[in-house]
Amino acid sequence: MRYRPARAMEAQTVPDRPGLPLRERLRELPPVQAAARNPQAAAAAVIGAFVVALIVGEGLQEVAQRGLTGLSNGAIYALGAVGLTLVYGILKLVNFAHGDFLTFGAYMAFIVNISWGGPLVLAILFAIAVTALLGVALEKAMWGPMRARGAGTLQLLLMAIGLALVIRYVIQFAFGTELRQLDVNNTATADFLGLSIGRTFLVVIGVGFVVLLATGLMLRYTLLGKRMRALSDNLELAETSGIDTSRVILYTWVFAAGSAGLAGVFAGAVTQVQPELGFEFLLPIFAAVVLGGIGNAFGALASGIILGVVIEWSTFFIDPGFKLGVGFLVLIIVLVVRPQGIFGQARTV
């Protein structure tokens, strides 16, 4: 038998421990204390100050221009993050294969759009549907049975990694490593207010934000959305209160994989379709998930967009080659200083 102290007791004994976590020690400083009490306001204040400083230093025009570019990546991060965070929150599964769901979606769109010559809208719908189906199939074949057997963290982590490799390299096996292009016009730009943005980027921002808004409303107001959040909050409690959890889990996979498929098509449209596509987006998506607080869908949505913009703005100071490093840096700093994210609550950690 193992002795495990209750979470609440553990929290109370924290200050007495010799190896007091850094964030606990930091919390004793007054401004940090205030920030810890209201992390959203603190984050908003930091970002606000950052934006003002940028505008003063670099000019409104340039800041808005790069911010706009950042929004399209932000929309992709947010779309990827919202599904990843729900799966993480509900199933306690760190789905390393989520990035490869994006790749899968992009290739499904490529098949319809290029191989079969179909219209892009149809390709997007097909990609969403088939990726959602993949998510459900994997739940039925792999994750459900493993949960029933009481698999541990390491087992699930390594299975997710194995799955990621299988998806990625089956795609590479079938399509090769060539960079492929969806049928989008990447040279046309839209100009307004003195800003210029690629038409594809604009479509990604437009459609992305509509979908993200719909997602937010769905989670906030529909019964399914409420159930998903209830499961993410506490699966046993949700089950006790009469929610058909296995059904909601299936819907969660439909939603998570489907949104990943859409994110993948967008990612393929603004860059190129290639087997590493989703993997390159995975760590920024993880950063958005952690920043938003694991399991917190709204947090993931907001953090994804913030991250996309901030990463783009970071190119004012650093070589663009390093800009993805900013995502990793944010991820590590947030994990260390505030692992529950700016939208999460301490007890989720």
């Binding site: 850094l22 306690k92 541990g152 963290t153 490593t177 993880f286 080659g321 590590i332 260390v336 692992p339």
Partner: protein, 327 residues
């Protein structure tokens, strides 16, 4: 052979498969990844910390060594211990904040740290040569290699395999490390490590500084990663950022779980089995092109991970009761 046996697509190119060149190559890779995965073993198997950044440690070790030799013009033999120390310092730097995290967060944090490093290596061209990488750091090794080769010739082996000295040295080092680590595991220090794995709170209640033990475990893994990095660099004769993708950490995990958790000798066997399978795939007479064979290798890697975790999570030599699979 393909033309002779068109109806047998799964025939093995026996000639290539039986050649000493093939086995020397496989042996070097297996030895390198044995050392690499020994680090994962002490972390995952004996301390219960999920280090997913081992490829990052390998990168720091290999790059520090190469930069010290080519830029600072240090002797290769002096560069090795310094590179190990640099890697340990990085391990402590990452471990100090990250080891306080919950297991799954630690996995994400370490993989992000390793990727950040790879990205740095890719972009800091002045220091690391960017995507072209670094070469020309192995002259001192070549002298040793040549003298081993002439030694082999004097023993009566005409025309020995040029990479055979590396094979001998990598396995010599791997076996010494396995013996040392196995002995270390039997000391009181090793027993505390296991206690931390089993129940950190209980270890702490007994007055053991669990965090310090975890940090020491990570430092040892970093050092082992660096040593694996040296052999990787000597085998390739150059280093490029692509050799340190997270996928190589996952490969290390496949080696680890194939051999079994909490067994250092198991790592060596797991590595030999894995690399024989992995490289042997290239000699199956399959009707695929090179990219497809490469993809097939990684599909097999993924399947090994999935199937082992689903059906035999303790691996070949692991003991089920020695596993901490839960939180």
């Amino acid at each position: 052979m393909t033309e002779l046996l068109p109806t047998l697509p799964l025939a093995i190119d026996l000639e290539a498969f039986a050649s000493l060149g093939f086995w020397t190559g496989v042996g070097i890779l297996a030895g390198t990844y044995t050392i690499f995965a020994l680090g994962l073993q002490i972390n995952v198997g004996f301390t219960g910390i999920f280090n997913f950044g081992q490829a990052g440690f390998m990168a720091i070790g290999a790059y520090s060594m190469a930069i010290l030799v080519t830029d600072a013009e240090l002797s290769f033999w002096l560069a090795l211990p310094i590179a190990i120390l640099i890697t340990i310092a990085f391990g402590l730097l990452i471990g100090l904040p990250a080891l306080r995290l919950r297991t799954d967060y630690l996995a994400i944090a370490t993989i992000a740290a390793a990727e950040a490093l790879r990205l740095f290596a890719l972009n800091a061209r002045d220091l690391t040569g960017g995507a072209q990488g670094i070469f020309g750091f192995d002259n001192d090794w070549d002298d040793v290699s040549d003298s081993i080769l002439s030694g082999l010739e004097s023993l009566g082996w005409t025309n020995p395999e040029t990479l055979f000295p590396l094979f001998l040295v990598v396995w010599g080092v791997a076996i010494v490390l396995i013996i040392a680590l196995t002995a270390l595991q039997k000391t009181p220090w090793g027993r505390v490590l296991r206690a931390v794995r089993e129940d950190e709170d209980a270890a702490r209640a007994l007055g053991k500084n669990a965090f310090a033990y975890k940090l020491q475990s990570l430092a040892i893994a970093a050092a082992l990663g660096a040593i694996a990095g040296f052999f990787l660099a000597l085998n390739l004769r150059f280093i490029i950022p692509d050799e340190f993708l997270p996928i190589f950490t996952f490969l290390g995990y496949a080696v680890l779980v194939l051999g079994g958790l909490a067994s250092y000798w198991g790592v060596a066997v797991g590595s030999i089995v894995f690399w024989t399978l992995f490289e042997g795939l290239r000699f199956l007479e399959l009707p695929f092109d090179e990219v497809q064979i490469r993809a097939l290798q990684f599909i097999v890697l993924g399947l090994v991970l999935i199937l082992l975790m689903a059906f035999r999570p303790q691996g070949m030599f692991g003991k089920r009761q020695e596993m901490v699979l839960g939180d």
